[in-house]
Assembly symmetry: C2
DNA sequence: CTTGACACAGAACAGGCGTTCGGTTATTAT
DNA sequence: ATAATAACCGAACGCCTGTTCTGTGTCAAG
């Protein structure tokens, strides 16, 4: 039989085992047993699998909980990363009214076909992640909020805001939805575009202004090339 | 003995088990055994744990792989979501040169203290996720790319680009780094700002222009309120 | 009161699974 | 050539673990 002795680092079988454990974990959401690892990597003896697992552990590539079945895990790599499924509730555009949302209702995020998956670590630190929803921006009307056509905005239901927070507001005056930084001043509201080169909008406190939510995140995928 | 019969839905023990499995999974990265569930939830008999697990499965709250040790997982909830750890390699600003990156080197994403976690489903569809890195934008110089101070840009190493792709370029002419849509024209390159109201930059093909990478994603956290 | 569904407990069984040990072959150093 | 070592294999041992079966006390309906 031919056995190649790798000078250092990961040999072929090390890599195969590592890949398999990772793939298995991803698919089944629990780690494989030693025997399963052996079967899928062409190792017939459980002791050999154990032999390699010991080495991988010494290399720091995996961690093991001895005497516990399926107690293998790949170090560092994925899993354990807390992700949220945030439902995509629809589009947002200048001309169309914003959705009416009850801040006290949890919108189903399980089995939701159209959802955005976001690692909790990506959210603003104090955000607990409850009741978030996502909207897809249609059109170029949000440019002064530094938001493009196709961007995804993650929002939190709210009907009021503190100074300096970016909110989605509906302006009955102009029949328009917009995203702006919100400031309350003496007798008016100042709606400040994110783009510092652009001028704010002022709305008198006597005029109607409906805050629909706070913007938590903006995500832009550079999916397809610009066609200009 | 006192036993409360819950009319419907999850009883106290259902919830306890569900919470424990979730917490255990998060901590150990593999599911608990039936006996472990019992111990920690105050159930002395394995059959009773099994009894509840069966119910939880019928409710669709968990999934089980029978006959497989530790074959429990909580439906819907986290895990299984394929996340990438993308290393944050530093800041990007107009005045400072861009990092020199070798597209063939994988930058360690394990044990990386400073990394961005992104669900694979969030990436552009054809992106495989290899060799990505992230930069944090400093300053307002990228405003014409619709990118703010504090934004995170996810990049892929590249030294050339196709028309319409957004790239990070270093312009020795102006001693400046910038993010623009890239277009090759007859005898010049056109660097088009993402903001359609702004004018493009033209660079003659004879002049130097270094493409340092393609922009894959932009992420903006609305962390702290605007202070203006 | 009886009956049946429900919520448990405990024990026993069988297969799953990690571990260990004896043994073999190939590679490398002496 | 020989010894040491690394890379295997197979089998056996014994705990781990899911499953199943019997039994008990509670509660509500008939």
């Amino acid at each position: 039989m031919m056995m190649v002795r790798k000078s250092k680092g990961l040999g072929e079988r090390h890599q195969k085992i590592l890949d398999f454990v990772l793939a298995y974990q991803r698919e089944n959401r629990y780690p494989p047993s030693i025997r399963e690892i052996g079967e899928k990597t062409g190792i017939t003896s459980t002791s050999v699998v154990n032999y390699y697992l010991d080495q991988l552990e010494k290399m720091g590539k995996i961690e093991r909980d001895r005497r516990i079945s399926r107690g293998v895990r790949v170090s560092g790599a994925n899993s354990s990363v807390d992700t949220l499924r945030i439902p995509m509730l629809g589009p947002i555009a200048a001309g169309i009214p914003l959705l009416e949302l009850d801040p006290n209702v949890t919108y189903l995020t399980d089995n939701e076909s159209n959802a955005v998956e976001i690692a909790r670590s990506l959210l603003p630190s104090k955000e607990n992640g409850d009741n978030l929803y996502a909207l897809e921006v249609k059109g170029d009307s949000m440019i002064d909020a530094m938001i493009n056509n196709g961007d995804i905005v993650v929002m939190k239901p709210a009907s009021e805001a503190r100074n300096g927070e970016m909110v989605a507001v509906w302006l009955p005056r102009d029949n328009e939805a917009t995203l702006k930084y919100f400031f309350k001043e003496k007798d008016r509201f100042r709606l400040q575009p994110a783009n510092p080169t652009m001028k704010p909008i002022f709305v008198k406190k006597s005029e109607p202004l409906e805050i629909k939510g706070k913007v938590v995140m903006v995500i832009r995928k550079m999916d397809k090339p610009l066609a200009i």
